[in-house]
């Protein structure tokens, strides 16, 4: 067997199922049931990475979510995962992992020089050094990121599928350790709908790595028994491999379920992760506690591990992380781990207990076992380079260190600085953790939402206590959710009398912090005790500021092992209590969540941002249209013929409309059916012009303002009957306009009898424009007299088009004689084909949005949102002719506000480049005199600009300060490439200024 640290028996691994994997290029093996971390330790691999700032060698520290060091780049290509914790990666065949933070290799890392100069890299180093000169920050940053970066994001699109699921339950139990299992059991027996989640692959939590017994059987067996009972309950849902990562308002808890992570990459099928959005009536947080590190010199050497992690590796994974062990701490966990080590055959050379006179049964058991105990002593420094080699032990004096006690050679230094309840979710729910002076940890405070913590999550650390606390919490939660929980389950387990933890936040050293070897508080961010003390000396008082200055608690682990020590060290330096210092904010996510799981199925053009296509879309595709996105719509942009440039195609399409006929798919216009006795009165308030006297069958252009007087939307509305109107809006504004009208109707004028129905998708619209358009539509339509007398401009007639019931509108956005045929969308392709056939005798051409833009700009017709920007009034647009002075309407009063009537507002004008050939860039800024001293005052900008084939020269629309009074004058357009183009200010109407063509 090639796993030198694997114990011969025990553990929850499957020795019949070996697993092969690759770490930094080396082929290694483990077993099903291993984590990547336990397999590495089994293979004798301790050093797994380099630290973030000083590039010091780092080893595996923990056994769960708290792991700060063992974060890798997992797998390759599109499947690569940056920064997973090896302690939470279940081992699978052909897993490939490599270290991050080291270059070129883990063994020979170039950044290690940072460690030699570490005196020069104090807290806030980056802030202090690289902010000057500011212009060089971008240069510095690239190298800093390269040197300090963690894992890399995959560059290929995510090949996996993710899902989202909503769920409701009576009791959500987070954590399936002893307290969580007991809680779920109590609530489940009471009939409550329970969801039990745990981040690990099997339930049991701490029980999986302990030698305890419950109800007369080994803890592991008890877990199986309880899990089986829960599984058999119909109303209970069990979710292993699921992390509750966020606790939001109204008991909304988000869960991340990992479905395929534990399988070999090639064997994965189906959904990779599922995000559960749970609404729970009651929540029980049985999230356990996280062991703290001890802060002493060189406490980051590979081989320095958390004591509970050592126990877990021995008991759960049958891995002995070291042969010659020293165990050091300030609480009873050290004796448990010493016993586990001794039982596994390790040579426990000393248990160093910072407490002078700790008693209790754990210590007695260790002493009985023959483990040497050094009470009232500390490990002040570790020595060794790539692995811990010895522990320097001192006796504690009255104030700092006393005499040197011993130097003990060791290859494993297990440490325990006490336990911090995982209060993260409680804090996210709105609770404020409070400091418990007796148990030396933050415990959940008053509940703000319907949640309660149980077990180690509220500092009940003994097994018997966890079981009864969990059962009581589960029963109480079920009761409050309306279930009679009946008898609360009781469990039988040994009660062990322990000895309380004593504070040891920063182990004293022979020299002052910063002078001796580094005493790390946050291993992932290389934050040492001296950094925190420096921050305090430099005047930082708030823990939130110190966090940001020193990076304490940043990173992928969010300081799970060392944060509290850091706060305590700050509190000590400031001479205040830990309670007064407080904690930093516990924000979601508890552990990192991949973006895929958050996006779930909301990806791609179909599901995230749906694509809308008109009824004639396929025809456009078949006829070679280039498309343009307008909102969610795909609109034909232009129809290039072979060898034709865009400009050629657009010119050809424009000339077809001006000289013969063209057809445009205008189906995307917003369409709203307005009905009710108060319809006209309502339109009077919504539009700037009057609607009462519009005749039936007549159309009118309308402008819509916000209450601030600024143009919001426009369109043509037609009266179909006395109480019935058909409104069109801009393509992009349809939903906004409908919502706007609904809001006013419901909140301000509920007495009005009028209804709005969106019919945008129901009607397809084809606009046939050009001097020959009448002849085209006459051939297609029946039942309509198209003579100008019978069917005048700005009116509508109903009839049939190619046999389909149709509304035909004689309106024009091109300035030419034009008709818009509206037919039910399902029949639209049939009608479109008929119109195309009819038009072929007149050489009618399809035209796209680009030609449409040119044609309307030649006429000075605005496009809301292109020629306007939310700061333009109708007066600014020269459209006072449409603003009624005889009635109220939304926005009217604002038009006389002082800012709206001042001189010098930007006004819509036309521009012609004086050279007669330059097409101005849209968005170009306009100045009066480019030779003026900089900054040259800007007087406006170009909003629309095209080459007009009909006129043979470029045209543009622009907004210019006081432009309406400057006709014939000059402005200069400034291009990005530095040209200054002189332009003449003209009327925005370039073509057929009398508007005769459309009325023919």
């Amino acid at each position: 067997m090639s796993q030198p640290n694997r114990l011969d028996s025990g553990g929850r691994i499957d020795r019949d199922r070996p697993v092969h994997f690759t770490f930094n290029g080396a082929r290694l093996s483990g077993f099903v049931g291993d984590t990547l971390a336990s397999a590495l330790l089994a293979n004798g691999v301790h050093m797994v990475g380099r630290s973030f700032k000083y590039h010091r060698p780092r080893g595996i520290v923990g056994s769960g979510a708290e792991e700060p060091n063992a974060i890798f780049q997992l797998d390759e290509g599109a499947h690569t995962v940056p920064n997973p914790r090896a302690t939470q990666v279940e081992l699978y065949d052909d897993l490939v992992a490599r270290s991050v933070n080291c270059w070129p290799t883990l063994e020979h890392d170039i950044g290690v020089v940072n460690g030699w100069f570490s005196r020069l890299l104090p807290a806030g180093f980056y802030y202090k050094t690289f902010m000057w000169p500011r212009s060089l920050w971008m240069t510095y940053e690239r190298y800093i990121r390269k040197a300090a970066g963690l894992g890399e994001s995959p560059m290929a699109p995510d090949p996996d599928r993710y899902e989202r699921r909503n769920a409701h339950c009576d009791v959500l139990v987070v954590g399936a350790g002893p307290a969580g299992l007991a809680a779920a059991l109590a609530a489940g027996r009471g009939g409550a709908r329970v969801i039990l989640v745990d981040e690990q692959n099997e339930f049991g939590g701490s029980l999986l790595g302990s030698g305890d017994s419950i109800d007369g059987v080994a803890a592991g067996e008890w877990v199986g028994r309880i899990t089986a009972e829960l599984e058999a309950m119909e109303e209970v849902t069990l979710l292993p491999r699921t992390t509750a990562f966020g606790y939001h308002d109204a008991n909304f808890v988000t869960l991340n379920q990992r479905l395929t992570h534990h399988q070999p990459v090639r064997a994965r099928t189906g959904c990779r992760e599922r995000t559960w959005r749970v609404r729970a009536a009651q929540v029980v947080l049985a999230t356990g506690a996280i062991e703290r590190t001890m802060v002493f010199g060189n406490n980051d050497r590979p081989g320095v591990m958390l004591a509970s992690a050592v126990s877990t590796y021995i008991n759960r994974y049958a891995v002995l992380p070291g042969r010659q062990a020293v165990v050091f701490g300030n609480n009873d966990a050290i004796y448990r781990t010493a016993l586990d080590l001794a039982a596994a055959g390790a040579d426990v050379r000393a248990v160093v207990d910072s407490r002078r006179d700790a008693g209790g049964q754990w210590r007695s058991a260790a002493v009985e076992r023959g483990v040497p105990v050094k009470a009232g002593c500390v490990v002040s420094r570790a020595s060794g380079g790539r692995h811990v080699r010895a522990a320097e032990i001192y006796r504690l004096g009255d104030d700092g260190l006393g005499e040197a006690e011993d130097v003990i050679q060791c290859d494993l230094l297990a440490v325990s600085g006490g336990f911090s309840p995982a209060v993260h979710l409680h804090a996210q729910s709105g609770g404020r953790p409070v400091f418990d002076d007796a148990r030396l940890c933050f415990v959940p405070g008053t509940s703000v939402q319907a949640e309660r913590s149980a077990g180690a999550a509220r500092a009940v650390f003994d097994l018997a206590g966890c079981l009864s606390d969990g059962a009581a919490a589960g029963a109480a939660a079920a009761r409050e959710a309306g279930f009679d929980a009946g008898t609360v389950p009781e469990f039988d387990t040994a009660v062990v009398a322990g000895s309380p933890v004593e504070a040891m936040w920063l182990v004293p050293d022979r020299v002052a912090p910063g002078r001796g070897p580094k005493q790390f508080v946050d291993l992932q961010n290389d934050t040492s005790a001296s950094d925190i003390l420096l921050a305090a000396r430099e005047g930082y008082r708030s823990i939130e500021h110190v966090k940001r200055y020193t990076a304490l608690g940043f990173g992928t682990d969010q300081g799970k092992t060392g944060n509290i020590n850091g706060m305590a060290i700050l509190a000590g330096a400031l001479g205040q209590s830990l309670a007064d210092t407080g904690t930093t904010t516990f924000r979601p996510n508890y552990t990192p969540v991949t973006f895929g799981a958050i996006a779930a199925r909301d990806v791609g053009p179909e599901l995230f941002d749906p694509v809308r296509r008109t009824a004639m879309h396929d025809w456009h595709v078949e006829n070679g249209a280039k498309f343009e996105d307008v909102g969610q719509w795909k609109r034909p942009w232009y129809y290039p013929r072979s060898g034709e440039s865009m400009r050629d195609a657009v010119n050809r399409e424009c000339l077809a409309v001006r000289n013969r006929a063209g057809i445009l798919d205008a189906s995307t216009l917003g369409k709203i059916d307005i009905k009710g006795p108060d319809a006209a009165a309502f339109l009077n308030m919504i539009y700037t012009n009057a609607w009462n006297r519009l005749g039936i069958g007549r159309c009118r252009y309308g402008l819509m303002l916000g209450e601030d007087g600024m143009v919001m939307d426009d369109g043509v509305t037609t009266r179909l009957a006395d109480d019935h109107f058909y409104m069109t809006t801009t393509t992009g504004g349809a939903a906004r306009v409908l919502g706007w009208m609904e809001q006013w109707l419901q909140t301000e004028w509920p007495h009005m009898k009028v209804y709005f129905t969106s019919v945008t998708d129901h009607w397809a619209v084809m606009s046939i424009a050009g001097p020959e358009s009448r002849k085209v539509v006459e051939r297609v339509c029946e039942g309509i007299d198209f003579s100008s007398a019978a069917f005048p401009f700005m009116s509508m007639r109903e009839g049939r088009a190619a046999g389909v019931p149709a509304r035909v509108f004689r309106i024009s956005f091109s300035g030419e004689l034009a008709y818009e045929i509206n037919v039910p969308a399902n029949c639209a392709q049939h009608v479109w084909d008929a119109v195309i056939r009819a038009g072929s005798d007149f050489d009618m051409m399809p035209y796209g949005t680009e030609a449409m833009h040119v044609l309307r700009a030649e006429k000075g017709f605005i496009i809301v949102g292109q020629d306007t920007d939310g700061s333009m009034t109708p007066i600014d647009l020269g459209m006072d002719w449409i603003v009624s002075t005889k009635k109220d309407f939304l926005g009217r009063r604002s038009l006389s506000r002082s800012d709206c009537v001042r001189t010098g507002r930007k006004q819509l004008v036309g521009l012609k480049s004086r050279d007669g050939v330059t097409v101005l860039p849209e968005g170009a800024q306009l100045v009066n005199e480019p030779s003026d001293a900089t900054p040259v005052p800007m007087v406006g900008h170009v909003t629309s600009s095209y080459f007009s084939a009909a006129l043979g020269h470029p045209i543009a629309l622009a907004v210019v300060k006081g432009g309406l009074t400057r006709m014939g004058g000059s402005v200069h357009a400034c291009t990005l490439d530095g040209r200054r183009i002189e332009c003449e200010i003209t009327s925005p109407v370039f073509y057929d200024p009398q508007g005769e063509r459309m009325k023919q």
Partner: protein, 98 residues
């Protein structure tokens, strides 16, 4: 994420709703009689209440109806919802329709 009770549909997820700002801002009946400052007050100025706030919501992903709510802007807790024309809870509290 909050739960909001639509007066027509019942309790639903916040994601089905859109916020509509302070409630009971009545559009002046005779805008022309207001000076610029008074009109500006109506147009732009809101109370920015800390505490109980009367505000408009619309069930935009549901029945599309507007309604009013009393919500605590500190705790986000809804103290009640009511339809337009109704008085709503705590009519003597600040911001209630007079």
């Amino acid at each position: 994420m909050l739960k909001i009770k639509c007066p027509w549909c019942g309790e639903r997820d916040q994601s089905e709703f859109s916020y509509g700002g302070e409630a009971h801002i009545v559009r002046p009946a005779e805008p022309d009689e207001l000076g610029d400052e008074q009109w500006g007050d109506y147009l732009f100025f809101r109370t920015n209440t800390k505490g109980l706030h009367r505000e408009q919501w619309v069930h935009s992903g549901g029945c599309r109806r507007w309604f009013n709510a009393v919500r605590d802007t500190v705790s986000y807790r809804f103290h009640g919802v009511y339809r337009h024309g109704e008085e709503g809870p705590g009519k003597d509290e600040p911001g209630s329709p007079s």
